[in-house]
Each structure stands twice: as C-alpha cells, then as structure tokens.
Amino acid sequence: MILIWVALALALGVPIALAATSEQLAWRGPVYILAGFAGIVALGLVLAQPLLIGGYLPGLTAYRGRRAHRWIGGALALAVVIHVAGLWITSPPDMIDALTYSSPTPFSPFGVTAMWAIFVVAILAALRRRLGLRLRTWRVVHIPLAIVIVAGSVVHCLLIEGTMETASKAVLCAAVLAATIKVMVDLQVWRKRRTLRGESIARQ
C-alpha cells in the first residue's frame, strides 16, 4: 500500500530533481527558473488530482481525498499563475504571442488552453455553492474541462525543450494520462444517472 505513495513521490520528485540539475539553469535568471519549476510542479499537481478523486491513495478517506482535491486544484491555479507571470517578466513579447494564440512555438496553444480550463474550473469550484450548481451539473462541466487540462498539459510539456529531463518527463506525463483514464473508467463518468447519484450521496 505504501508503494503507491512511494511511486507518487518518485513520479513527482525525480523530474523536479533532474530538472534542478539541468545545465540550462546556468543561463537563466531567477524569475525564469521559478517560472519553469512552477510549470513542472503544476504538472505534478495534475497527476495528484485523479489519484485523489479516484480514492487511489491509501490512508485517505473519500472525504479527505475530496478536500485535498479542492486544495490542490487551488494550488494548481496558483502554480499556473506563477508560471505565466514569470515567463511574462522573462520575455513579454513571447508570452503575449502565446496568450493571443499567435506564437510560433507549437506547444504554446496547448498550454494556454489548459490554463483557461484550469481557471474556469477553479472559479466555478470556488463559486459552486453560491451559483447553486448541482453536483451533476458541476460534473458535466468539470469532467470535459479536466480532460482538456490533462491533454493540454501533457502535450504542452512533451513538446517543450527546456530544463526537464526527457525520460522522467515522459514517465510523469504517462502517469498523468494513466491516472486520468483510470479514474474516468472507474467512476464511469460517461454514465449520467444511477452511478453518479449513488456516489454523490456516499461522498458528500
């Protein structure tokens, strides 16, 4: 059981540790370095999300898993803000190109699309009660956006030539995809009625 936690720690820790040894860092300023690592951490947080909501982390009750999912969702939005703000400070014209979908780099539109999906989910999650969104409505919104976030983040990350070491980056991306597919299958997210309602009662 502890193996799952160890595997998660390795999947997050190894890419960050290897990126910290990248020779690229020598040629970067502190703000650019911070922006880069915020991006790596953000990808790691994306991995935690399906594991938490699927209840795959032993020792966490469904209630605590859901609470952690919300907090990590907030942390993910914050990491993305740091990533984008740091890159903006590093090279404003390149960041503006990316945000306006006019960048020459093929990975930028994937990252920017995932960013907007993260912001929409974070804002809706924060306002869910106030807006009176029912759980079923919320899931109809959240699940497609979660798929956009995962796919966008993985493609964005894989196409970038930066501080991340190639193999550890590929493993982390594969883990994100695998965890997402597993939670979608296990929770049968394409089913609308019985399963979801049963779970929502159990999990509330």
Binding site: A26, W27, S91, P93, D97, P104, I160
Partner: protein, 167 residues
C-alpha cells in the same frame, strides 16, 4: 501539394515533394537554380520574429566570445540576385545573455555574393525552443524578421535566408 505556410521548418518537414526539395536545396546551399530564379518570392516575416528586437544593433566582428555561427544569404525577390552590403541584425538567448540584453545583439554586412556570417555565443533554448532572431530593416527593402529554430540544442550553427522586395 498545398503549401499553406511558407517557412523553413515546413519545408524541412515536406522533404518528399519535388517543390519542397527544390526550395530545401536552395535553402541549404544558399544558391538558386537559374531556371527557378525568375519568380523568386520574397521571404515573409516569421511569427515571433521581431520579439526582443532592439533597434540599431552595432556592426561587430563577433557577438561576445563567439563559438556559434549564424549564417545565411540575402537575395532580391524576382531575379534572385545576391544583395551585397546589406546589414543583417542578429540576436538570441545565448550562454552570455538573454534575448533582450544589449550584449546579445549584433549586426553584420553581406559580402559581394550576398552571404553573411557572424560568430556569436552558443544559442540555448528559450521559451521551449532553441532559436535565433534575424532582422533586415535598413529601409531600402521591406523589413523582414526571421526566427529560425535549431533542430537540436547541441548544434553550433544556424542558417537563415532573406529574399527581399523593394520597400
């Protein structure tokens, strides 16, 4: 075949086509087959090409300590005649500085064959791609900004080619 976007990377990707091969060969050698010269199209500014541009970079022997070569050709649209004495500005994120910093910028002139070559510090990846920037903006011809991408961050040279049309 339909060629929607005319940039060097698309040409490299489209190696199978005869048309692309013709352009690729001209791009690599810097020479143009006379038969094709008549309708030589002007180079379009690349997206992001002008990012971190600084006006009026000085003509230098080399940028910083060198170790990396930026080279290319400048020709006239239509007949493809080489353009001598044209000022090309070059900048990049290198081991000696970021793109926007003055020491990362320099300029050089084309020789009588329309070729230019400037030594500069090693280019390293910035914003996820190892790339350089070049500009022609001396006024006689229409301004063009290029942003060639290196196939690998380990390469120690990069080429970019200008075909200019009258301003």
């Amino acid at each position: 075949m339909t060629m929607v976007v005319f940039n060097r990377r698309h040409f490299l990707a489209a190696g199978g086509s005869v048309l692309a091969t013709g352009f690729l060969a001209s791009g690599v050698s810097g020479l143009l087959l006379p038969a094709r010269a008549a309708g030589l199209a002007p180079t379009e500014t690349m997206s992001g090409g002008a990012n971190n541009y600084r006006k009026g970079a000085q003509i230098v022997e080399r940028i910083g300590k060198g170790g990396f070569w930026m080279s290319g050709t400048v020709r006239r649209a239509g007949d493809g005649a080489p353009l001598a004495g044209q000022r090309i500005q070059i900048w990049a994120h290198t081991v000696e500085g970021q793109e926007h910093e003055p020491q990362s910028h320099g300029a050089t002139l084309t020789d009588k064959d329309g070729k230019f070559r400037l030594e500069m510090p090693q280019i390293i990846p910035i914003f996820g791609q190892p790339h350089g920037h070049l500009a022609y903006d001396s006024g006689e011809f229409k301004t063009v900004f290029l942003r060639p991408v290196m196939r690998s961050a380990k390469e120690t040279s990069l080429e970019a080619h200008f075909v200019l049309q009258p301003a």
